[in-house]
């Protein structure tokens, strides 16, 4: 039980910490400006789904047939065709990055078109961005299929594709990347506030020697830590609520699961992130070192090794192994599922348990470290 003096001391320290936050614009901006910036970037800027791909078209011998084929590309939302007279022209444009690929209808197109067998159409794709190239391949095939269906139906025949795929994408039927990225951002933002900001703030006390000054007062290390953690917990939850509100009302991401479970798991994750921040600052002891370590072991893993953008299944086994010690991995899985799929016990329980476990372990390590300091 905290006695009256301890409560007073904590109150005083919390007040001092809030004052410091309010006086330093960088703390406020990381908690409230950064989330907005990130939301806009990820909500509008980041998508793999290419539309209006610039495609160079070379008709070496324009004819009704070749024009008909090209017009299917013009009508597709995936392509914006642009004509070139010769293949070298078009290829040069591709090398300069003006077009992403080149469609070549060769000069013997009409002749071969009416002969048995097939008229080859060449597609050259800039493969530097392998992912986009892969998708463009798929879209070209799609346009070709539509053209084929139209062509055959004009001849009174129907296209018989042996197997027709009937894909259905659950939880996000329009494949809207916003619905997938925005929930995960909560994990990133809480990592920034909980781990990076806290690590910097506590490291500053060590660097300036004010931590030692505090330690010689009657204030215990626990009171110091609690008073450090509390304001940043408030700031972290504030950032989370801001993100949540923008996600729901501006980006219209559905929240299909329970809000309370979402808030609970966010609080647990923030506890883990704050613990990491405090631990880093006691190891780093200077702002430069603490900041770098915080970026390396909290921010980057939350970005790369959590499933926030990159799918974890596709990474090599040793990376998958590492991801198990990344707290954000569990939180991102929870977030994505809670928003888009709903309350699923077999997603919530294991992930929440992992987070609680990490929080307990980190807190124990901090206790051990802090005792040493008091000696």
């Amino acid at each position: 039980m905290l006695n009256k003096l301890a409560r007073m001391r904590i109150k005083g320290l919390v007040f001092k910490e809030f004052l410091q936050i309010l006086r330093d614009p960088s703390s406020i901006s990381i908690a409230f400006v950064m989330p907005v910036v990130l939301l806009f970037l990820f909500g509008y800027g980041v998508t793999l789904d290419a539309k209006h791909i610039l495609l160079g078209v070379v008709q070496q011998d324009p004819s009704a047939e070749s024009r008909d084929f090209v017009s299917h590309f013009e009508h597709s939302e995936y392509f914006s065709p642009k004509s070139y007279l010769t293949v070298p022209d078009a290829v040069q444009a591709m090398q300069r990055g003006e077009v992403q690929g080149v469609l070549v209808l060769p000069s013997d197109f009409v002749n071969r078109f009416h002969q048995p067998g097939s008229a080859p159409v060449q597609v050259l794709i800039n493969g530097v961005n392998s992912n986009t190239a892969n998708l463009i391949n798929g879209y070209v095939h799609g346009v070709w299929q539509t053209w084929l269906t139209d062509y055959l139906s004009q001849k009174g025949r129907t296209l018989k594709t042996p197997i027709q795929l009937q894909p259905r994408i659950w939880f996000n039927s329009e494949v809207n990347s916003r619905h997938f990225l925005v929930p995960g951002l909560i994990a990133i933002i809480m990592t920034l506030i909980g781990a990076l900001l806290t690590a910097l703030v506590v490291a500053r006390e060590w660097e300036r020697g004010t931590m030692e000054a505090l330690l010689v007062t009657p204030v215990t290390i626990w009171e110091i830590l609690l008073s450090k953690v509390f304001p940043y917990f408030v700031l972290g939850m504030g950032g989370m609520v801001l993100t949540l509100v923008m996600a729901l009302f501006l980006f219209e991401v559905p929240l299909r699961g329970s809000l309370w479970i979402l808030l609970l798991s966010s609080a647990v994750f923030l506890w883990v992130a704050l613990s990491m921040g405090i631990l880093i600052s006691t190891v780093g002891k200077s702002q430069f070192v603490a900041g770098q370590i915080a970026i390396l072991v909290t921010f980057l893993p939350a970005f790369l090794l959590s499933g926030f953008v990159f799918d974890l299944h596709s990474t090599p086994a040793f990376i998958q192994f590492i991801t198990h010690i990344v707290p954000a991995r569990y939180f991102v899985a929870l977030l994505q599922s809670q928003f888009l799929a709903g309350d699923i016990a077999w997603v919530i329980l294991p992930n929440l348990l992992a987070l609680v476990l990490m929080g307990v372990v980190l807190t124990l390590v901090i206790i051990k470290k802090s005792h040493k300091r008091l000696d």
């Binding site: 018989k160 259905r168 430069f288």
Partner: protein, 376 residues
């Protein structure tokens, strides 16, 4: 006024020695300058992928014929997918997807084979977990490649008349669409940006916080000398680390290096200079290290996202595309990928290098001006 060149040089040198000793004397600081870039390269190099590998597939096979077996064979032959389970009935689909036991469920209906034999066409139902929309998109795309291959085989085996048009596809510069060839050169740009920006952003702010910057200003040292003395350490460390990273990219990750090495070094100097300029500007505007570090951070995150590092700039809305012209990494990514993979020369790249030079000179001039005019 006659410039005192020797004095200037010795003052710059003294400043540089001081910067280096700040970075390398303390064991922990030394480690965070040298260690993280390489850890980042390795983790990034393996984790950054938009390629599906061995994505778990569950199969619900109600087909009474044998064609489904052939399709499953094609699926297992693809490196994108791995069949992990067979479901007993359609009630099992929902929990399998919900609980992430599989990314997709492939459902062969009872009449799958018989319809194909009778009508020449049949339907295959696929349910994909859309929580990660990118992965869902890739899964759909890769699956249609697999089915296409099956369809071609089937048409050939059963003498179905060939479609009157055939598409021959070729991928240039990256024939097999290796994911690493795209990401690893980008990581070179990313790490160089992070290292040089952080080192310089903190350098002036640290002195401000400790009060030594005011002392520096009252010495005969000119602002441009401070600028050079503060920039060169970042430039040297950035160049050194980037070269090691380039070697790792070539020899460890096997990315081909087709262009001119010296052209890359030339462009790199301008890229690092623009990162340093921005770093110094942030540093000059900050009064504490915390502000400098968070300021650097608030620049870096958007800069990386808007650069085309992971997702193409062409996919972004027009307004955001305009914003990317302010981002030095945007230009350097074209340079580094162009030289690595496309053998681009100076004639194709000068209009990427020029904006870098402009960004570098504008930011550095502004930083030098701020040194004098911003009083704490």
């Amino acid at each position: 006024m006659q410039l005192d060149w020797m004095g200037s040089l010795s003052r710059i040198l003294a400043l540089m020695i001081k910067e280096f000793s700040v970075l390398f004397q303390d064991k922990r600081t030394r480690f965070v300058v040298i260690g993280p870039p390489f850890i980042q390269l390795l983790v990034f190099g393996y984790a950054a992928t938009f390629e599906l590998k061995q994505a778990p597939v569950a199969v619900l096979n109600q087909d009474q014929g044998t064609v489904s077996q052939q399709v499953i064979g094609h699926l297992e032959g693809s490196k994108s997918f791995k069949v992990v389970s067979f479901l007993p009935n359609d009630r099992a689909i929902k929990p399998t997807i919900d609980e992430k036991q599989a990314l997709l469920v492939v459902h062969f209906p009872a009449d799958f084979s018989s319809r194909l034999h009778k009508d020449g066409t049949t339907e295959l139902q696929v349910i994909i977990d859309g929580r990660n929309s990118n992965t869902a998109l890739l899964a759909q795309n890769d699956l249609s490649h697999v089915i296409q291959a099956f369809n071609d085989d089937w048409a050939a085996d059963h003498h179905v008349s060939q479609p009157p048009l055939e598409i021959v596809k070729r991928n240039w510069f990256n024939e097999n669409l290796e994911n690493n060839w795209f990401f690893v050169p980008g990581i070179v740009a990313l790490i160089v940006l992070v290292v040089s920006l952080l080192i310089t952003a903190l350098s002036v702010a640290r002195e401000r916080e400790e009060g030594t910057f005011d002392q520096l200003l009252v010495t005969p040292t000119l602002p441009f000398e401070i600028l050079v003395g503060k920039s060169l350490p970042g430039l040297l460390i950035g160049l050194l680390e980037s070269n090691i990273i380039i070697l790792i990219a070539i020899f460890w990750f096997g990315v081909p290096f087709r262009g001119d090495y010296w052209l890359l070094q030339f462009a790199m100097v301008f890229f690092i200079a623009s990162a340093i300029g921005i770093g110094l500007m942030i540093s000059a505007l900050s009064t504490t290290q915390q502000q400098a570090l968070l300021g650097a951070f608030m620049f870096m995150v958007p800069a990386v996202i808007l650069s085309g590092f992971a997702t193409p700039i062409e996919n972004m809305p027009d307004a955001i595309q305009l914003l990317t012209y302010l981002d030095p990494m945007r230009y350097f990514l074209i340079v580094v990928r162009g030289i690595f993979l496309q053998e681009m020369g100076i004639d194709a790249l000068w209009h990427q290098i020029l904006p870098l030079a402009i960004i570098a000179s504008v930011t550095m001039t502004f930083a030098a001006w701020l040194f004098r005019h911003r009083t704490v």
